[in-house]
Symmetry: D4
Subunit: 239 residues, 8 copies
C-alpha cells in the first residue's frame, strides 16, 4: 500500500481494530488512550461502542474525557485510575458471564498497594479485572514499613485466587506478600519515588529479584497487564 | 545469640530448615545448591531425606553430585538441568497426589524454548514443575527466527493451563506465544547471548515490555521460579 | 576565525551547506529541522530551494511549517511523519531518475511497523526513501502479538529488496521478519513504550541481539537513516 | 514430548538441524560453536558434512578443533578468526555459484578494521562472507587516530558494494568510512578496549549515534552477522 | 620522591601506616587484606602487632591465613567472615574499655541477615563491631519471605541501639526492620543473588529507596563499614 | 473492600493517617507534599492540626502553600527548603522535650553543604531535625574545591554528635568530612549538577564508595531522611 | 549558625564570593547562572562589578539577561553561547595582560566543533578562554562524516597550543583531531543527539575510550571547563 | 588484500608499526602488551629495538617478561607498573633531550595517588612520563579521608606544571587537588574498589563531575594516557 491507501484503508485511521478478539480469547479489546490523536481516539470509541455496546480505555487524560463526552455523553471517567469507559445499557455491569455458561466457583483476586501514591496503578489493575468480570478485593496502604497492616489482612490474601501487589519506591511489598500466600502473586512496580528510584526501575529490580516463591512481574505502572493476567488465573480457578 | 550459639543452633549449620513448609503451602522445600559449602549441603540433603523421604536441589555442580553420591548413592543428577534429586522408594514418582485428594481435571503446562542453549533453563522449569506434580509438555527449539516452528505447535499451546516461554538473546518468543494463547504466559529470560545481551538483561527488558497481553516475567535463568508459579496456576486449573 | 567572522562567513548562519553532495553521493541534502533556530531554518530552506529546486526536512514541528509557509507558500507538511518538503514544479515527483540513466529493474522496499504508534517513524522512513526515488510498500500494524498479520504479508516481504522493520515496546518484529525473508532487514527501534522501555533502548537491545540473520540496526526513531540505507540497497538491486 | 522423548528425538541431541535452509534462503547453515557440548558439536559436524559436503563453524576453541579433527581429519582451523570448517573436495572453494546461474557482475565487499586487536572479528566477517561466495578486500589497521591510513584506501572503499567497519575502543571508524562512500556501511563494534569501554557497549553506542549517513549496526563482536548481511547486499549488487 | 625513594621510604612498602589513628579517632587501624601482595601484607601484620599488640584484617583468603600463620602462629582465621586477626595476650578480648573510662550503659547492636548466604557479610559486620568493643546480638535467617521470623525478634530489635540489616537478592529486609524499631538501621546490600541482581546493585537500590524512616546504606558487601558506624552510634548511646 | 468503600473509608481519602506514630516511635508524622492532590493535602493538614496541634510537610510548592493558607492562615512556608508547617501556639517551638523527661546532654548535629545550590536539601535536613527537637549547626558553602573552608570548621564538626554532608556534582564532601570526625557522617547526594551527574546518581555512587570510615548514605535529595536519622543518633547521644 | 544567621551572613544571600580568587589562581570568578534565583544573581553581578569592574556568567537565560540589564544597562548577552557579561570601561577587552607582565609568546588555542548544533558549547569554551585572555581560533562544522573539512585545517590545528574538540552524537571528532596534532586535545561531549545518545553520555564514552593519544575529557556540555583548562595550558606555553 | 597477503604483508604480523612516529609527534611508539599474542609481541620488541635502540611496553605480564627476556636479556620489568622496557646503551636514560635542543626551563609534573592500591596505575603514569623525558615528583598515599596528607604537599603540587591525580573508590582526590593548584590536573580513575564502584566507573563519574576547575579526565586505569598528556603540557611549559 502507498501512503494514501493506508490512510483510507479503514474508517478509524491506520489501525485495524481487532473486533473478533473477544470470541477468540475471551477478552474484549481495551484501548491504551495515552498519546492517541483526538480524531483517532474518537473514531475508536464510536466504532467499538457500536459493535460491542461498550468500550474500556486506560491512561486517559481529562482532555480525552471531554473529547469523548462531547459525542458519547454516557462515557464515565475515573480521575484516579484514568479509566475512561462506556458501559452499554444491556451489558451485565462488568460481569463476563457470557464467556462461559457453567456454574462457577465463587473466586476473587486481591489487589494490594504500598502507599497512597500507588493507588492509581492499583485501581487500573482492579478496574481492568472488574471489567473482565473478575471480583476484586482492595487492600490499600499496606506498605512494609508498617508491617502489621499487611499482616492483619492475611486471611483475605490467602483466600484470593491471585494477589496483585502494587508498590513503588523500594517495592518490597511483593516479597512479603509472596511469603504469606500459596497462590500466584503478580508484582506491579510503580514509578512512585524520587532520586535513585529511576522511574520505577528500582522497584522492578526488587520484584524480579524477590527471594519469595510464586512472584512474577509486569512492566512499571502496568496495572492493566496485571489485571489481565489476574483475570486469566481467576478464570482457571473459577471453572 | 553470639557467634558460637549461632554455629551450634542446629545440626546443619546456621540455617533453619523450613520442614513444615509443605503442609503450609503445598510445596516441599527445594534447595538452591550453587555456592553452598560442601558440609552444609550434605547436611541439608541428609536431614531432608530422613524427614521427607526425598530431596530436590537446583543449580548443582557435578562436584556436588559426587559429594552427595558418596553418602546417598541413590541420588540422581541431570547434567542439562543441573538438578540433583533423591526420590524415596515409596514416593509417587513426582506426583503430588497427596496435596489434594479430590478427583482433578487432566491439565498440563507447556514449556517452550527458543534455542538449544536455552534448554538447561527450560529443563529446570520443567523438572521443577514435574517434581511438584504437574504434567509438562516440552516444545523446544521454536525460536521466532523460524516462526513456522512455534506456529505448528499452536494447538498444544492453547490447551495448556499455562505456558512457560524460555528465551535468551532478544527474548522475542514470549511476545509471539502471548499472542497465540488465552492462558497466562510466564516468560523466563536466559543469560544466553553475547555482546549487548548483558547476561540476559536485554531479554528481560524485551519480555517486560512485551506488547502481548497475559505475560509476566521472572528473573534471568530462573527456571525454578517459573516452574513454581506454573504449578500454582495449574493447581488452580486442575481442581 | 573569530566569532564575528564565523557569524558573517555565509548567508545562512554558521553552517556550510553541502550543496555538491548530490553529485558526489547520489543523495541530495536533507535537513534535520528539530531544534534549529527559526531564522537559520528559513535561510536553509530558501537557499536550497533556489539551488536545487526542492527541499526535504525531517522532524519539523507545526510551528516550523507555519514559519516556512509564510515565505514559501508551496511547502507541504505531513503531520504524521513530521516531514516538511518543497517539491519544485519541474522535479520528477520524488523520482531519482536523474541519478542513473540506464534502464533499471523494478524493485521496491517494504516498510513494516508493529503498532499504530510506530507509524510516524515508519512514515519518516518511507517518505525519505520515496524522496530518494525508491518505491515503497507499506505494511503497518503487524506486531508480533498477532502473528497472523505479518504472516499474511510474507510474499510481499520476500519480494522486497530490503525490509525496514519499525517497532517500539519490545521490538520483536525485526526477529520475526528476519526469519521470513532472504534480503536485508533494517531494524528501527522506536521510543514508543513506557516503564522499562527506556525511551526505545529496550527495543534497540532486542534488535541488536536478534537471533535471526540479516538484521542490522539504526538509532532509536531514526526513520530517516533507515530510509537512506534502504535506498542504498535498493539502488544496488535496481541497477 | 517428555524429557526422554526430547533426548531421543533426533540423532544429534535436542536440536533440529535446519538442513533445508540453503534452498530456502540461499545460505547454508553455520554453526555457533562457543559453549556447545562436545558430543553435540561432533554430531552436528558429522551430520552436516554427510549431507552438505561441507561445514562452517564460528567461535570455535582450539579444544573443539582437536575434538573434530580426531574424527574429521580434513577439518581446518584458523586461530585468528576462530573459524572451524570442512570444505568438501567437490565444493567450489567457497564460491556460492550454485545459488544463481546467471552471469554476474564482478562485485566485492571491503572489510576495514581499526586496530590489530580487531582483526579476529574482522576475519570472522571476511571469512563468513567468503564462505557464502562473496569476494572480500581486507583493509586493516586503519584506525582514525592516523587518518591518512583510511584516506589512502578511499578508491577501493568507494568501489565496494558494501563496507564492513570493525572497531573497538571508541568505534569512530564507521563514521569516517560512512562519510567517504555511497554504498552501505555495516558497523561492527568489538569488545576490544578497557575501562569505560564496557565490553564493546561504548563502541556500539558510538556507531548507533553516528552522524554519517548509510550506517547500520550489528551486535558486539558479531563478525558473522556482518558477513551475512554484506553478502545479502553484495548478491543484490551482483545480479 | 622518585620511584626508588618511594620504595625505600618505610619498612612495609609504599604505605604509611596510620598508627596514631586510635588515639585520634578511638578506632584502631583495620587491614583490608584482599588483593594486597604477600610481602606487603606480612609486613603490615608484623609492624602492627609489634606496635599495638593486636591486628585485625578483613577479606582475607585462606592463602593469606597460611602466609601470616607461618610467621605469627597465634593468628586466628574465621572462614565464614574471612576475618584474620591476632589478639595480644594482654588485650582485653575485643573490649574497647580503654577508649573511655567512665561507667557506661549496657548497650548492644543487633545484626540481622536475610538468608544463610548473607551470613559472611553479617559476620564481617558483627566481628568488626566486637573488635571495636561493641556487644552484638545476631539475628540470622530472617528474610522477609517468611515474615514471622523477623517479627518474633521484635523485642530484641527494639532494644538495640542500632540495627544492621544485611540482605542480598531484593534487599527488602531493611524496610521491614526500619518499620519495627525507633533507633537507626544501617542497611548492607550483599552481592548474593543472580540474574538481574547485578552483583548487589539491585539490593542497594532497594535499600536507598526504602519507604521506611531511619535507614542509611553502605556499599555492597561492606560489613566492615556497617560494623564501624554501628559502633560509633553505640558508643554515643553507651556514654 | 470495593472502590466505593475505599473512597469512603475515612475522612481524608484513601490513606489511614498514622496518628499514634509519635507515642510509638517518638517521631510525629511528617507529610511528603509533592504530588499530593489538593483536596487530599488540605484534609491531612486539617486533620493533623486538630489532633496534634502542629503539622510539618516537606517538598511543598508555593501553590500548595496558597492552598493551605486559605484555610489555615498561620501556616508558614520556607521557599528554600520547601517546608510547609503549622506550629501550634502551645507547642514548644520545635523542642521535643516531651519525648524524654530526664535532664539531657547539650548535644547538636552539624549540617554541611558543598555549594549554594545544595542549600535547599541541606535546609530540608536541618529544619526536619529542628522540628524533631534537635539542635543544628549549619556549615554551608564548604565544597572540597576550596578545602580551607571545611578545614576552618573542624572543631565544630568534631563536637557534633553526627554530621550531615550534603553535596551534588561529584559529592566528594562526605569523604573529606568522614576523615575529620569520629562520629557518624550521613551523606546526602543532591541532584545538583549537569551532564554526567545523572540527577544525583553520580554523587550517590561517590558517597557509597567513600574511602573514609563512618559514612552512610540516604537517597538523592533526601534531606528529610538525613534529618530523621541524625535525630535518632543525637537522641542516643543526648540521653 | 542557625538559619537566620545564615541568611544574614552577607549581602548576597548564603554564598561567600571568592573575590580573592584571581590573585590566588590568576583566574577571576565566573558565575554559573542556570538555576540561580533572581535576587541572588542580581546581587552577585552588582557585587562583583563593583569590586572587579567586570563580571562573566555562563548558562544565562534571556530572562536573566533582562533582569540584570534593568540594573546594569551595559551588560552584554550572547544568545548562542548564553554568556552574560559586563566589561568595565577600563578593562583591557578580555586580555589578561595583568596576570603576568613579561613579554610572552604569540600563542593561541583552537576550538573545533562537529556540527552547527554543537556551536553553543563551542562558543562557551571559546568566549570563556577569551575572557581569560587567550587567543582563540574557531574551526566549526568540521564533523568526521565529511573528513576533508577537518583535514583542510590541519596546519592551524598543529600550531595551536591546545585544541578543544566539541562534538555530540557519536563524538568521533576528538579521535581524529588527536591523531593530527602533537599538543593536548580537550574533548567536550555535547548533549546534541537523540535516541541512544543519552544526553551526551554516548559521546562522553567515545571520547574517554579514544584510541588517539593526548586526549582528556570534561563533562557533557562543559564548554566553560574546557576553556578554563585550555587557558591554563596556553599560559604555560605563552610564558 | 586477501587473508594470505595480509599475513605476509610485513615481518611482524598484520600491523604496520608506526616507526616514523617520533619525528612526526616527538613521541616514540609505546606498546600496549596486554592480550598481544606471543609471537607478535616478540616481533614488535625485536623490530623496534633494532630500529630505535629502545622499546617501552605497558600492561605486560610476567609471562610476557619471560618471553622477551629469552631473546632480549637486557629487558627490564617492573612488577608494580607492569612496564616492560629495553633501554639502549647509548640512549639518554629516558631523557628526551633530542626532541628540542634549546635550553629549557626546569619543570616537573607531580603524580598523586589516593591509596596504595592505586600505585600501579600511578607508576604507569609516572614511568611513561619519565620515558618521554619528563621529570616526575611522586606524592603517594594522600587520599582525602586523611586530608592533612595532601595538604602537607601543597607547595610541591603548586610548582608542578601539571598534576596527575590517580584514585579509585570514590575518586575525590582530583577535586581536592584541583582546588589547590593553578595548573592543569589530569584525573585518572582506577578500577580499585568493590561493590558499587563498577570497575572504576564510579570514580570516573566523580572526576567528570568535579566541582573544581582545571580538571580533565582519562579512561579508567589509563596511566599511560595521563603520562602522555602530562608530558605534552610539561613540554609546553619547559620551552
Amino acid at each position: 500500500m502507498n501512503y494514501e491507501e493506508v490512510k483510507n484503508s479503514n474508517n478509524i485511521g491506520y489501525a485495524k481494530l481487532d473486533t473478533d478478539r473477544k470470541s477468540r480469547t475471551g477478552f474484549p479489546e481495551v484501548i491504551f488512550c495515552e498519546g492517541k490523536p483526538d480524531e483517532y481516539l474518537l473514531n475508536i470509541y464510536k466504532t467499538l461502542l457500536e459493535k460491542d455496546g461498550r468500550v474500556f480505555g486506560t491512561r486517559a487524560s481529562e482532555e480525552q474525557y471531554e473529547l469523548i463526552k462531547a459525542e458519547i455523553p454516557e462515557v464515565q471517567y475515573d480521575k484516579v485510575s484514568r479509566i475512561l469507559k462506556v458501559m452499554s445499557t444491556n451489558s451485565s455491569g462488568g460481569s463476563e458471564n457470557d464467556v462461559n455458561d457453567k456454574p462457577q466457583k465463587n473466586t476473587f483476586i486481591a489487589v494490594c498497594s504500598g502507599g497512597t501514591a500507588d493507588i492509581p496503578v492499583a485501581e487500573e489493575a482492579a478496574q481492568t479485572a472488574e471489567y473482565f468480570g473478575t471480583k476484586v478485593e482492595r487492600i490499600y496502604d499496606v506498605g512494609v514499613s508498617g508491617i502489621h497492616r499487611i499482616l492483619s489482612q492475611q486471611e483475605k490474601l490467602r483466600e484470593a485466587s491471585c494477589v496483585i501487589a502494587v508498590a513503588g519506591m523500594e517495592g518490597a511489598l511483593a516479597s512479603v506478600v509472596g511469603g504469606l500466600v500459596s497462590n500466584p502473586v503478580i508484582a506491579v512496580p510503580t514509578s512512585v519515588g524520587y532520586g535513585a528510584s529511576f522511574g520505577g526501575m528500582s522497584a522492578l529490580l526488587t520484584m524480579i529479584n524477590s527471594c519469595a516463591n510464586g512472584i512474577t512481574v509486569v512492566n512499571i505502572d502496568n496495572g492493566y497487564g496485571a489485571g489481565y493476567v489476574a483475570t486469566q488465573i481467576d478464570r482457571l480457578a473459577r471453572k
